[in-house]
Amino acid sequence: MIEVIEKRNTNKTTNEMRMEFAAVSDNEAFARMAVAAFITPLNPTLEEMSDVKTAISEAVTNAVIHGYENRNHMDDRVSMTCTLRGDVLEVEILDRGVGIEDVRLAMEPLYTSKPDQDRSGMGFAFMEAFMDNLEVESEVGCGTVVRMCKKIGISSWIDSEE
């Protein structure tokens, strides 16, 4: 039993992937599908799969429309790193766009800097609700990095039962 718990809490990286793509809206679907495929071996529940896809979609959309101000330049890049540590998924989404002046204000539910564009202001709130942890770091003129993590799948519970 002790062995199983140690195995579950291990910090060892078990898989990793990194990708970089142009900051265009077509890539929002691509990014969330890539992460969905990456976590499939962990046997996520439908709900977990959907949670992760929504959170990724929010973060990438933010990079495209806020970080790079929706300008659709091929030189504007979003990089995404996914790391698995046992059954915990860690995602880092980084842009080198305009940055966020007041991160705390940006994270307020319903706050949006672009109310004219039909934005709901729920992006960060969804990331927070659908993932286990969310960290946002930003510097004006340099860019923004969003880090999220979530425990995936019920495999570890089944292991401990056995």
């Binding site: 809206s25 077509d26 929002e28 679907a29 969330r32 709900e47 959907s50 896809k53 929504t54 979609s57 929010e58 959309t61 495209v64 429309i65 564009q117 039909d118 934005r119 709901s120 202001g121 729920m122 992006g123 709130a125 969804f126 609700a129």
Partner: protein
């Protein structure tokens, strides 16, 4: 079957399989064109085909609500599965949209 259909005073919108920012711009533009030209008072969002939605979907609903609410119009959501419902409720949409269960 058409994605946009006017029945009496209602604009029925059959939403796509996935609703994100990429798709939302087009949906909002088309919906607004119907609202303006056909002078419909109410909007019905049909989620039958929809398996994925992020906060852009909330943006679509809020935006259309703002356009019709001042004339007494109402917004409805039909055929929403548990995932879509969860996203609607998390955003407090139950005060704005009438979520109709089958």
């Amino acid at each position: 079957m058409e994605d946009y259909k006017v029945i009496d005073n209602y604009l029925m919108i059959r939403l796509p399989n996935e609703i994100d920012h990429h798709k939302s711009v087009d949906i909002s533009t088309k919906a607004d064109r119907y609202i303006m030209t056909k002078k419909v008072g109410n909007v019905v969002f049909d989620f039958e085909r929809t398996t994925f939605m992020d906060s852009s979907g909330i943006g679509i609903i809020l935006g259309r609500y703002k356009k019709i609410a001042c004339f007494g119009g109402k917004v409805y959501a039909i055929n929403a599965d548990s995932r879509i419902r969860r996203i609607l409720l998390l955003s407090g949409m139950q005060n704005i949209v009438e979520i109709i269960s089958n």
